[in-house]
Subunit: 507 residues, 2 copies
């Protein structure tokens, strides 16, 4: 047990996995549904998603993509065209086989036998197949290229072990799909979108990430190269926060996406796809939250400032509320991060202490407590969510209004700085397999972070490599893009290579 | 054949149904997919939907609702709890029976026999069942009420005859779901949301609507009252553009949504649900478009003003483009309908005439043609999409900038006025069944609009009534809410009643 009393239980050090559930519950972000592996995203959780969407959607549009919507059902025949793709997704998909229900003789509602589909559909796990088929009909000439589209959609992958936000059977995401005339252009698109995801993670979610390339066995099914952003959670585990795939001509040849160039020569287009999902909310929680609950970076906080009225009696309450209603207007006229500041007043009947802790548990960046004493002294009591809960600062009303954007910006920066320092402290280099084994040990909960090491891709699929990694519960996260020209001995094969990878336990 | 040459074929009078398809194709709004009854919404169509979403979402939030997200799969056991509801939806739903595919001995990809679900799921046709189940666990006390939530989601109803936007198996919509402590409050919510939909239709989409109540047999399965907004299309047919349901205690008793009041007495909550869908885009097209293609009300036009550069040679083109780039900035600084004006430059290599007609077919409200002559004379050539395509007006550059919002507003008003006049012209009263039969005749394409008549609900389900209506291809659209206290003879039963309804052919 922790000696200090916290707003939620258990603490991170007591039980990290249960702490994660407790943060979600205390902030009322989401809950499990009776539908296997599917979650209900509640108002506070969905409002965070809307802010992520809004910011990312703008970046997607600013980089020249149009939003579209494709059917959620995929005919099996579409899936079969790309061999690696079907291998990757057939094992975990929801299959639609009937289009009507009826009541049988026993009075039970069952799929109507005479309404069986001649060709079943699957619910999209991702949409390369259905979008590739459409692109084939849209693209004929080099003049039709590039095609750069995106959709915000729900997808389904039948997961056996699920966790709110981190791994659910149904999740929400955006998936971008593009087709280009040249390999260079498609590769440049793939890398540009990886940069957009890095910006989203670092500048909006305050999550530092490593941009990297996945090793061959971790690629998206059907991709030539898969790039990713990897983040480190507070338990030292890695979380893949977004991926961008260079699909080469694998999908364009499977789905006949071909075009005639200026000389009337036909060739297959070069395609890409890229996505991030509601998993980002899991990453947010695991990066910033503390033993008092959720901590939200101001940019994606549905409420950035909460005014907490404190009153001893009805007369006081009326004066305090009047004061708050004026203050809220002044604060809402301020701008932060290209938007007006989002401010609320806690108008519940709860006691002041309960209001205070509710705001803490919801992760609201700034709390302002306002009672008659504060009003009369013109000194409001301000507390920042990134500081210990009871740390307060007195500020004049006028300063609160004029400095609110500065304060929010300080919190945003402080969260990124703290997470960046944590990542740096828990990233280390190993020169031998022995060092790697010693670092991670057998205790899965042991937080040791990211180990970098030289690695020879040729031995990735060797049973010996796989067995060692499995025993250590480690995965190869990626080969960081930001790398030097040095060489070293692969910790598995001892061959001298110039490729370094990151080993970590992962979500 | 029409004597005048139009941008699309056929014209409305030649073949209204094919004209509708031609408008969609010429504006590149959407297309059929290989997935039965499902459409692909293309960038221009989706951008219109985003504008509808953005405006309606604001109204939904301003009236106190929070967005959420619920699973798309519904267990059969949920569906079965409300008898009328299951009757209404079991006949047209996609059923998920397996969660994995495998390759059989013949090399075909098939649902894996050992991955059959013990309880199948359906893809949501609407979410009362799954949301009702969650509300039951959220609501315990009167303090937990009201619950007012909304979700933007895809839903699926297995339709046999589909038409882009108007009727598709999968469609996009929003569905609001609320629970209240009293009948009055729930009824007031139901009516408030109907008013919101009326505002959306009239003030944003420039579609005049009649607010009405559905007759018993046309109610939402499980509802006590269903309210609707009905619009008249240019062929005189009715289109139901949105519905708001008062569910009474039907769902709360089926799903155990109960609460304890201040005296600890438990009772069932009163619930509502309401929705509009991508069908609204179909309504937009059928209300405003003409024989040259799509006509968009400025409020929901993804591009409100298009600048069309006209140049004879490369030197001119460079000067004209330079001029356009400055003008576009000045126009984008203007505000219309709480947003900056949306302006584009047509930068394609097409001939000026092609650019002109492309803008017409896409329904862009204002076209500005700019060549060296216009620049030198400081008289730009402006054409409005609501006027005949070739009608142009010369305006000084400064006036174009200062008046752009006024011009857009004039177009928005003119479209609503025109549609309102059309509706008035095609609405008439009948005193006898004979008059009704004569008005509609046997020709389904004959445009005669809405017939109002006194009607006795008691005879609605009489075989004689149903047969007559079926023969005339008529449906009872609604009982208008805006009604007088007069009485008259039911045209079917001859009984004296005070209830008037609207008869029309319908989409």
């Amino acid at each position: 047990m922790s000696s200090k009393k916290n707003a939620i239980a258990p603490t991170r050090s007591e039980n990290f996995s249960e702490w994660y559930q407790a943060v979600i519950k205390a902030a009322d972000l989401a809950e499990h549904s009776a539908v296997r592996g599917c979650m209900i995203i509640k108002p506070w959780g969905y409002a965070i998603w809307e802010l992520i969407q809004k910011n990312l959607d703008k970046m997607i549009k600013d980089t020249g993509h149009d939003n579209v919507y494709f059917p959620m059902l995929i005919p099996l025949s579409y899936l079969q065209k790309e061999a690696a793709h079907v291998d990757g997704f057939a094992k975990e998909c929801a299959v639609v086989t009937h289009y009507r229900l009826e009541t049988n003789d026993a009075g039970e509602l069952v799929p109507a036998p005479d309404a069986k589909l001649s060709e079943p559909y699957i619910i999209r796990p991702t949409s390369e197949t259905v979008i590739g088929t459409a692109m084939a009909s849209w693209i004929n000439s080099y003049k039709d290229l590039p095609v750069k589209i995106n959709q915000w959609a729900n997808v389904m992958r039948w997961e056996m072990r699920t966790r709110l936000f981190l791994r659910t059977s149904e999740f929400l995401w955006q998936e971008g799909h593009t087709a280009h005339a040249t390999e260079e252009e498609a590769m440049s698109e793939t890398r540009m979108m990886l940069d957009v995801y890095e910006t989203l993670a670092q500048d909006y979610l305050a999550i530092p990430v490593i941009k990297g390339e996945k090793t061959p066995s971790e690629r998206f099914p059907g991709a030539v190269n898969t790039y990713c952003i990897e983040a480190m959670m507070q338990d030292g585990k890695a979380l893949q926060a977004g991926t961008s795939h260079f699909l080469g001509q694998n999908f364009s040849s499977a789905y006949s996406i071909a075009f005639a160039d200026k000389n009337q020569q036909r060739s297959f287009a070069w395609t890409t796809s890229w996505g991030v999902s509601t998993r980002l909310i899991g990453a947010l929680i695991l990066t910033h939250s503390d033993d008092d609950g959720l901590v939200l970076p101001p940019v994606v906080a549905p409420v950035q400032v909460i005014l907490i009225p404190v009153a001893m009696n009805a007369d006081d309450l009326s004066s305090v509320m009047e004061y708050c209603e004026v203050l809220v207007k002044d604060l809402r006229a301020q701008k932060y991060h290209d938007d007006f500041v989002r401010v609320s007043i806690d108008k519940t009947d709860e006691r002041a202490g309960t209001k205070f802790w509710n705001a803490v548990k919801k992760g609201i960046p700034l709390r302002v407590e306002i009672g008659m004493r504060e009003i009369n002294a013109d000194l409001l009591s301000i507390s920042r969510r990134d500081n210990p809960a009871k740390e307060k600062k007195q500020m004049k009303r006028a300063d609160v209004v004029s400095d609110v954007a500065v304060l929010l910006n300080e919190i945003q920066d402080a969260l990124l700085k703290r997470a960046t320092a944590f990542k740096a402290q828990h990233t280390f280099h190993v020169n031998t397999l022995d060092e790697l084994e010693k670092a991670f040990g057998d205790d899965e909960a042991h937080c040791c972070g990211f180990a970098t090491a030289y690695f020879d891709f040729a031995v990735e699929n060797n049973p010996a490599t796989e067995e060692k990694l499995k025993k250590m519960k480690l995965t190869i996260r990626c080969m960081p893009l930001d790398r030097d020209a040095t060489t070293g001995h692969c910790i598995f094969s001892d061959n001298v290579v110039n490729t370094k990878v990151i080993f970590a336990r992962a979500y």
